[in-house]
Symmetry: C2
Subunit: 496 residues, 2 copies
């Protein structure tokens, strides 16, 4: 397959912790070249660990091949890292003076068209822009951990960012699979962290007052409203709770409880050493049996499952994944081969086994074979002229039968390719034989014998294909009469 | 299928709104007989609607058959409804005087061993017990909407509930698939609603101050931390954010932000008519294109997907589903062999065509047929004893061949079910014939003839299945010799 037409650029990551590493991984896995600057001698190891997790998980959200990974480089100076970058992301600790210093250093080398994003959880863009050489190119781009999986990024342009910088920021984070939430009116802590902060404060009180442990609070979340909030937020959920009488009714009914003593309104618990130790001890009791690395893998696998479940329903974060797939697919070049007249099966798909295709045995799961063969057929049909216009004109080929023989196993990341041999074709029927091979050594993995019928979609009745299409099919079918008939074609299930 | 060995009892539901209806559905679908008392003339219709949603969704979480549904009855008086009930659930509006009146009426007929649960979001059990004839049998059992899907229930016994009442309450809600969180120290609004209340107040400020709309706040949740909280709560998530340095480090680092102006600490927004209208209008713009009923179905399908994704990972709410399956299965040890003894194909999966399964023609896409048949096979293999332990011991069935005949189309939301007929079975081979039917009128949609080989996973060689498994297979296969051989079995592709 030819290399994709790249739209990736060069990203500079300043600060290589969990957040900076997550940004680096998202850019790299979408084909961007990434330069990292972080004076921490551990930064390279830390980024490598984040990247390892990201490589195992981000591609598992996609159902199309990811672009080839970009190049990762560690720079000795900030200037070296930031020069020529299209996107510069600052993820240093929450200290305004430090951020000002770093942003000033960045702007001594950054091009005027670069976007400079800050991962700050709390500072407003106006605070960051204050005193900058080119304040309009600095905006808040606040992501959520794990950055390589969670799509949300709060983009806060403040009052002086020009439209083209904001547009470029939105287009860039969209291209790396994120969901930009443009915060129109700047405010400390943006939107999500204000909600988190309110929850966090209340949770600290519950622990401080010995009402609940960290485990009990977490259970109150993940067995209840946490499940709701993975797919609908606070307001849509309450809209449903209001039932047929609607949202205004709900608020009138439950609003007054805000004035009841249901939460600690007016105070912040003192973070004494004793309270911190109490929380740390409860957290150890809850989660201490697993290392942070182990828990991260559990979390990532869970998030993949949750997001893929929503993808199957084309909803929320899952709908975003579907859109992103379509964007990635559109970047792949038109590499449909000329219908070959040689006495060789046509070479069709060429791809790698994705993490989501693996079953509990560590092999490609059964129905994914059917998916690869189905995609192979789709490509053949496109090759012979059954494009969108042809289908829109009223007819298409329908699959009547598929007989798959499972011959060998394939594992994660294994490269595979498919071929097609046309066994016979007439005006109404198309009989094909697909093979799936491992990319290394051409080992045969599976075969699929398929019968297609040409159908008028309105009536559902079999009818004759158009002459241009038939001409193409016949040319291939004629060439393929010289290929030996496959041993396993024409067999019934269980035939020895 | 034989009736299960019942451990179900009789439940009385007082108040038949969304919450009471959800309780009724959970009890009914777990085989309990349910009496409802609600003076609202609309109660019967409302409960029927909740029950319709619940029947479509709760069984979709289980991988074992649910018990036969209990009997639903509407009582004319509270006394008639509550008499002889093992569990009486009060879900009337949040008005302490009303709740005292209802609880007093209940206690004029309730047996002393009945558990009386209150769905109150905010009152403490001590407040409810105050002045009661038998205060120790009253406790808070606070569930979350939709009650038939979300597992969390806060059980708050207060200070005077005897141990046996608390134990019975925990056992009962566990038996109907819920996750009891026993709140050890009573507090207004228990645990989860304190967290929700804090978030809700902050969200109201964001809207009041025109920082964000309901849509933007919901997106901030469901594309970000809502995904996290479906599987790990606040503290376990922050433990990971703290990275290798741990929880105490995290709190010391982020604790100080609590004192920054990140949230509205000291005030409650005035719920003026203007603010209520603003929220209602924004909510209409966000969600008004769908009716409440439609949104409920979307929500339920999403929750099923999210919870099943976690089930596949044996984590959190998903691990609970697995435990609940094992409990349900243990209640009906005789069912599965019984099912196989009749000369009828086994009824297997029962599901609806999901949006993501639809192709550009508006029909179920080709490889999803393969997925449904693959899931059907998985269930058959589980039925005959190929569980995790069996696979871990070294062997499993591998698919050797699949021949799918596509007979008719299915569309979005169409209910479909699959059946299985065992054509032949010996020590090493299992030859099956699955059918896929439309749920309305049993129209045949597709069939799949499959050959499975019993394989030693390490060597990849065919070997003999275990005797317990063979015994189960043979019993079903023997019964199935009386079913006519399918017309399309033993065919090769294109055979007329």
């Amino acid at each position: 397959m030819t290399k994709k037409a790249s739209v990736a650029g060069k990203a500079c990551i300043v600060g290589g912790g969990v957040i900076g590493g997550g940004w680096a991984a998202r850019f790299l896995l979408h084909g961007w070249d990434v330069s990292v600057f972080d004076p921490d001698p551990e930064a390279e190891r830390k980024i490598a660990e984040v990247l390892r997790n990201a490589r195992l998980s981000l591609p598992a959200l996609a159902d199309v091949p990811m672009p080839a990974e970009g190049a990762l480089r560690f720079a000795d100076t900030l200037a070296e890292a930031a020069r020529d970058a299209h996107w510069i992301q600052e993820s240093v600790p929450e200290d305004l003076a430090l951020k000002h210093k770093v942003l000033a250093d960045i702007q001594t080398v950054a091009t005027d068209t670069a976007v400079i994003g800050s991962s700050t959880s709390g500072f407003r863009p106006t605070q960051l822009q204050d005193g900058a050489r080119n304040p309009g190119q600095i905006l808040v781009a606040h992501p959520f951990n794990p950055v390589y999986l969670l799509p949300l990024v709060e983009i806060v342009p403040g009052r002086i960012a020009p439209h083209e910088i904001l547009d470029r920021a939105v287009a860039t984070v969209t291209a790396i699979g994120m969901k930009p939430l443009v915060v129109r009116s700047e405010i400390d802590a943006h939107i999500a962290d204000r909600l988190l902060e309110a929850t966090w404060r209340e949770a600290l009180w519950l622990i401080n007052d010995d009402i609940a442990t960290t485990q009990e609070i977490d259970d109150a979340i993940r067995f209840g409203f946490g499940l709701r909030w993975a797919q609908m937020g606070l307001f849509e959920t309450y809209r449903l709770a209001g039932g047929e009488e609607g949202m205004a009714h709900f608020i009138r009914q439950f609003g007054p409880t805000l004035k009841w003593p249901w939460s600690k309104l007016t105070d912040v618990p003192e973070l004494t050493d004793a309270l911190i130790q109490k929380i740390a001890d409860q957290s150890d009791a809850q989660s201490g049996a697993s290392s942070i690395r182990e828990l991260e893998r559990v979390r990532d696998a869970n998030l993949i499952g949750v997001m893929r479940a929503l993808k199957a329903r084309d909803w929320g974060a899952g709908a975003l994944l579907g859109e992103h797939d379509r964007r990635l697919a559109a970047l792949m070049p038109e590499d449909i081969p000329e219908a070959g007249m040689s006495a060789e099966p046509l070479r069709m798909l060429d791809l790698a086994v994705l993490p989501a295709w693996i079953d509990y045995n560590g092999h490609m799961t059964e129905y994914r074979y059917a998916e690869v063969f189905s995609d192979t057929s789709d490509r053949l049909l496109l090759m012979i002229g059954m494009d969108d216009d042809y289908v829109a004109a009223g007819c298409s080929y329908y699959t009547a039968e598929t007989h798959i023989m499972y011959i060998d196993e394939v594992k994660l990341n294994q490269r595979i390719y498919s071929t097609t041999q046309i066994l016979s074709a007439d005006a109404k029927r198309l009989h094909v034989f697909h093979r799936l091979h491992a990319g290394d050594g051409d080992r045969l993995i599976a075969s699929a014998e398929q019968m297609y019928l040409h159908v008028a979609r309105e009536s559902g009745r079999v009818c004759e294909a158009g002459s241009a299409l038939l001409e193409k099919v016949s040319a291939i079918a004629d060439a393929h009469t010289h290929i030996p008939w496959p041993d396993t074609a024409g067999r019934h299930v269980g035939q020895r």
